[in-house]
């Protein structure tokens, strides 16, 4: 009996112990839960990029867990000094390699991203509007990005600055980018783009320089696109159609003509004196 009582007491103690540990865990989670995403964002960026010069390795130390510690990381600007809420990420010219770091998605309050002058490659995510939803300044210039400029960038309606120059983007510039009403700076120079450039709502500072050194861009501040070639094409098609119809009609007429001749020739064969029926009618009448 006493032994059982002792067992029970022990269990109670264990229960209290476990309970308080859980409580402590929950509290510590609670303290960091609100900023967990931004810390994970930076962890993910560090993991996905190749840090060839070791800058991130030395500065981005995730062991120190004080409030807002990531705000002192190289290239990181926070909204407030002692809260881990990332405002801007500026990692220009740090010898970084790899593809566009999708982990940026977890920096949910990010307004500025500068990854310029690195050795990043590959295409940009097609769902980029979900990754950098509130971005106002995006600088990916001077890298080796390839593929098409994502159409969904046009959903990032707060963009003021969009720099994609000096990369290897190909295909057309999505015309939807013209819907970005806040654009002040836009550059796609030195890529492999072609086609009609977008029509921006206020062509403030989008000069030909923004499009320079692309093999086939046209329209806007550049020379007009080959719209006349398109026109002559349709003329040719219409002309061909009309001509073909006319030709077919001619064939039919000629064919009919010969057919009729054959018919009348056969009639004459059958009835050399012709109109036998008419004569017989006359006879009856007469």
């Amino acid at each position: 009996m006493a032994f059982l009582m002792r067992m029970l007491l022990r269990k109670q103690d264990a229960g209290i112990f476990i309970g308080s540990v859980l409580c402590w865990l929950l509290l510590s989670c609670g303290f960091s839960f609100g900023v967990e995403s931004d810390i994970n964002c930076l962890k993910s960026i560090k993991a996905s990029l190749q840090d060839t010069l070791g800058y991130l390795n030395s500065s981005w130390d995730f062991n120190n867990n004080t409030e807002g510690f990531i705000c002192n990381f190289l290239g990181i600007e926070c909204w407030h000094p002692h809260e881990s809420k990332v405002l801007n990420i500026k990692l220009s010219d740090l010898g970084l390699k790899g593809s566009f770091p999708r982990g940026v998605e977890n920096c949910t309050s990010l307004t500025g991203l500068d990854l310029s002058s690195n050795q990043l490659n590959g295409p940009l995510p097609t769902d980029i509007d979900k990754i950098i939803t509130f971005i106002t300044s995006l600088d990916l210039s001077s890298n080796s990005f390839t593929g098409q400029i994502p159409m969904k960038l046009s959903n990032c309606s707060y963009l003021n600055v969009l720099k994609l120059d000096n990369n290897k983007f190909s295909g057309i510039i999505p015309p939807e980018l013209g819907q970005l009403t806040r654009i002040k700076t836009f550059s796609v120079a030195n890529n492999q783009l072609s086609g009609q450039v977008p029509t921006f709502s206020n062509n403030a500072s989008i000069t030909a320089d923004s499009y320079a050194n692309n093999p086939g861009l046209c329209g806007g501040p550049l020379k007009q696109c080959q719209g006349s070639a398109k026109k002559s094409n349709s003329v040719v098609i219409v002309g061909a159609g009309v001509g073909g119809a006319t030709f077919a009609a001619l064939i039919v007429v000629i064919g009919l003509f010969f057919f009729m001749r054959r018919v009348s020739a056969r009639k004459k064969e059958e009835d050399p004196e012709g109109n036998k029926w008419a004569k017989s009618f006359k006879k009856t009448k007469g």
């Binding site: 303290f31 407030h80 309606s157």
Partner: protein, 237 residues
């Protein structure tokens, strides 16, 4: 002889008087800023005694803790963030003409934002966030032509966001989240840089025209101790 004597003593006393007055004036001008900060101290409740070093009898406040001066002994920074202060701000803060950083965040300060802060034309950072301030955002703040950081989030501010603030070309970071502001959100001028993040959790603020109302996300208050989910991005920007 008497006349000469009286004239000499007369002019001497005049000169002494002027000298005395000048010295007094010197002492006073060195203390205008100290007096202003002392007025602030008198209006604040300071349980942690962070303002203990604020001695108004000193010639200037430049030796006070949490006060920084420039080479001309004029106040450039007041750093009282996270100091457990309560009470209210004072209009005298407006005389600190060389003030660049006013850091009063994370306290329990009540009352209004003094309109006189609009005279602090050298101000670069105005951080009054995480307090219990009420009333409106004074439109006099639009005169702060060098302002880069305007963080008034997590208070109980009401009224409209002054349109005149869009004229501040230097503005880089704006945080008005977690207040009770109303009216429209400016999008012109420098405010084209700001997104719904800057205005989050103002239930009666009209949504930004560029994005549908449903996309205004619900972030947790800046207080880290809240158990709430992180900002969930909308499906469409």
């Amino acid at each position: 002889m008497d006349a000469v004597m009286s004239t000499t003593s007369g002019s001497a006393s005049v000169w002494l008087f002027l000298l005395f007055g000048f010295l007094q004036l010197l002492k006073l001008s060195g203390n205008v800023e100290g007096d202003a900060l002392n007025a602030l101290k008198s209006n604040l409740v300071d349980p942690n005694n962070v303002l203990q070093s604020w001695d108004p009898t000193l010639v200037n406040p430049c030796t006070w803790f949490h006060v920084t001066c420039n080479s001309e002994n004029s106040v450039t920074r007041v750093d009282l963030g996270n100091a457990n202060l309560s009470g209210q701000l004072v209009s005298q803060l407006g005389v600190l003409s060389n003030l660049q950083y006013l850091e009063l965040y994370s306290n329990n300060i009540t009352g209004n934002i003094p309109a006189e802060l609009g005279t602090l034309t050298n101000l670069v950072s105005l951080d009054l966030y995480l307090n219990s301030l009420r009333g409106t955002i004074p439109d006099t703040l639009s005169k702060l032509e060098k302002l880069r950081f305007l963080r008034l989030n997590n208070n109980s501010l009401t009224g409209n966001i002054p349109m005149a603030l869009t004229k501040i070309q230097s503005l880089q970071v704006l945080d008005l989240s977690n207040n009770n502001l109303t009216g429209d959100i400016p999008v012109n001028g420098s405010f084209s840089l700001f997104t719904p993040i800057s205005y989050n959790n103002n239930p009666f603020l009209k949504a930004l025209p560029a994005s549908p109302p449903s996309s205004v996300p619900s972030t947790p208050p800046s207080s880290p101790a809240t158990l709430s989910l992180f900002l969930s991005p909308p499906s469409v920007c």
